[in-house]
């Protein structure tokens, strides 16, 4: 049983530079938490605070029922995979993997057994006697993973482990990672700026911006009900259409068209959000539709990303993902906005309005 808990964690370098602000969250056994956010949102700093590489200004890090805040990194029984992999260049793959075990004075037989196990899982057996310089990027990545797995730590920390791989390899290693960590019981904290990694790997996602936690939840929850405008714009690709609009009675005016507001809303100005994949060609009985002229078509292979200017207000544009085999006209294309898939945010607070 090892639960990771962050209580009120704050890191301030100076009065104005505060990368982590009063963060509290918990990661249980078997949970895979991803910290996701743009560069500079504080996600790597959080990882360093958990690891003990940086000292928090305030707050506590608790692993199991132990407050590890005052402990040095080596006494926290964590394992970390670095973005650069941080392999020891003068040691063989075998020694790299065994380093943490040797430091803890495990019997040589145990070390050998665990190194064999980890290298077997990751397919490193033929590489054990090589130096890191003689490995490809993907192989180095696997050595770094093996070094973490072999430790059997209370918490796994991974700092953008896939960002130095090329696109094809990244997808493959992402799938491998999911399988490898499915067998691990300890909590995992994974840092990335790539929302696809966050969505595919995690059981829990923490979206961060500017040192603040924006939303914490299951990937589906984050995708389906983003808590605010930032989360809505950050998660999902292509990006959600987000259009600030003023209220007209119980509706908003979208160019020449009216879209009804959710009942009970009192906000004066609102932001309408709809994902490109949720806009579609109208069917019989669609109440809420807009039309406009197409000015850009981007072919994504399995679908077309279509940009159009809304009739009545050319400054309003919408992007829609339409099936590649569908036929539609470039002029006056009509699209349906399914009301249940529209996200409403308050224009001032940017918080979500509908449930």
């Amino acid at each position: 049983m090892s639960k990771l808990e962050l209580q009120n964690l704050t890191k301030a370098y100076s009065r104005d530079i505060v990368p982590v602000k009063k963060l509290s969250l918990a990661v249980e056994d078997n949970e895979f938490l991803t910290l996701v956010g743009p560069s500079g949102c504080g996600k790597s700093t959080i990882l360093r605070l958990i690891a003990g590489l940086d000292q928090p200004t305030e707050g506590r890090v608790i692993i199991g029922d132990r407050d590890v805040s005052p402990l040095p990194p080596g006494d926290r029984n964590i394992a970390m995979v670095f973005q650069s992999y941080a392999l020891y260049p003068h040691m063989t793959v075998r020694d790299n993997i065994a380093s943490g075990l040797k430091m803890r004075n495990l019997p040589a037989g145990d070390i050998q057994k665990r190194v064999q196990e980890a290298s077997g899982v990751l397919g490193l057996d033929p590489l054990l006697d090589r130096k890191p310089a003689k490995l490809s990027g993907g192989q180095r990545q696997r050595v770094a993973l093996a070094r973490a797995l072999v430790r059997n730590p209370d918490v796994f920390l991974l700092d953008e482990p896939l960002s130095n791989l090329d696109a094809l390899l990244r997808e493959q290693v992402r799938a491998d990672l999911k399988q490898i960590f499915a067998d691990q019981k300890s909590p995992i904290v994974y840092v990335t700026h790539d929302q696809t990694e966050a969505m595919t790997l995690s059981t829990k996602v923490a979206v961060l911006s500017n040192g603040h936690l924006q939303q914490l939840g299951h990937p589906n929850e984050i995708y389906k009900t983003p808590a605010n405008r930032f989360v809505a714009s950050f998660i999902g690709s292509p990006q959600m259409n987000l259009i600030p609009l003023s209220r007209v009675g119980n509706d908003v005016a979208l160019g020449d068209f009216r879209v009804p507001l959710p009942s009970g809303s009192t906000a004066k100005s609102v932001i309408l959000g709809i994902r490109p994949e949720h806009l579609r060609l109208p069917r019989e009985g669609d109440a809420c539709t807009v039309s406009g002229d197409v000015f850009l078509v981007e072919n994504l292979g399995m679908s077309d990303l279509v940009s159009l200017r809304v009739q009545g207000d050319p400054s309003l544009t919408l992007r829609a993902l339409l099936p590649a085999d569908a036929t539609w006209s470039k002029e006056n294309l009509r699209l349906a906005l399914p009301p249940e898939l529209i996200h409403w945010f308050d224009g001032d607070t940017e918080q979500r309005l509908n449930a």
Binding site: P72, G74, F82, Y88, P89, G100, K131, A133, R147
Partner: protein, 299 residues
Amino acid sequence: MTRDYIRERQQRTGWLLVTPALLLLLLVYAFPILRAFWLSFFTENLSTSLEPVFSGLDNYGRMAQDGRFWQSMRNTAVFTVFTLIFELLLGLIIALSLDQAFRGRGWVRTIAILPWALPTALIALAWRWIFNTEFGVWNDLLLRLQIISNPVNWLGTPDWAMVAVIGADVWKTTSFVAILLLAGLQSISQDLYEAHAIDGASPWQSFRQITLPLIAPQIVIAMLFRFAQAFGIFDLIQVMTGGGPGGATEMVSIYIYAAVMRYLDFGYGAALVTVTFLVLIAVVGITWLYLSRLRAKTE
């Protein structure tokens, strides 16, 4: 197989470009070395009216019996070993300090290299004054601190004179070693130390298992440079002690200088040069072998 015209052309251009440099090297290095080697088989001194007379291996036989030669070799070895040890230790400590982040580090780094950049002869003169019996700062300091009760003639006492020249050389060239090692330290990624700390390493373990192995190439290069320079040390000794007192600080180079310039014993001087040269080449060669093996190991 087809001819690789591009490669052939590049090789032709390459040879064309290095030929002038090679010729120059042959002229200023190879020729004097071979000439000295040739001359070492002749007796050419005042007894032969400075005419070269072939005498086979006589010069080398004489060297084997020459107590002053062995004394100078011993002095050189002592000087080389001690300066190397101290310069390496102090250089490493300075490099590790300069590798830390602190305010004004850029300035300190610049100042640290200064002693090495100053001309040796001037520094030697300064140290001679520092160790002067009546007017020297060193005696004054020790007297004030009541460590000694009477002025000591440092450069006039055999053992102290050796300590003094070693001290002066260490003061002057430690910064060179420090800068070389600092370059090595800065090439080590901070991530490695952090990964090692998470692995459970103490700072001392990190120093031994990460820092030392990764700056080993810089250590060997620094030692190689310093060995070659210490083994042929001339200016510092010549100015500070002139090899005295009574030959206590006479290095091989000083002895060679005396044999040739003072005793006009050209043949014998050439034999001394040849032997010294071979010793130097042997040590450098062995180090080079070790270094290339070390490289093969880390790659």
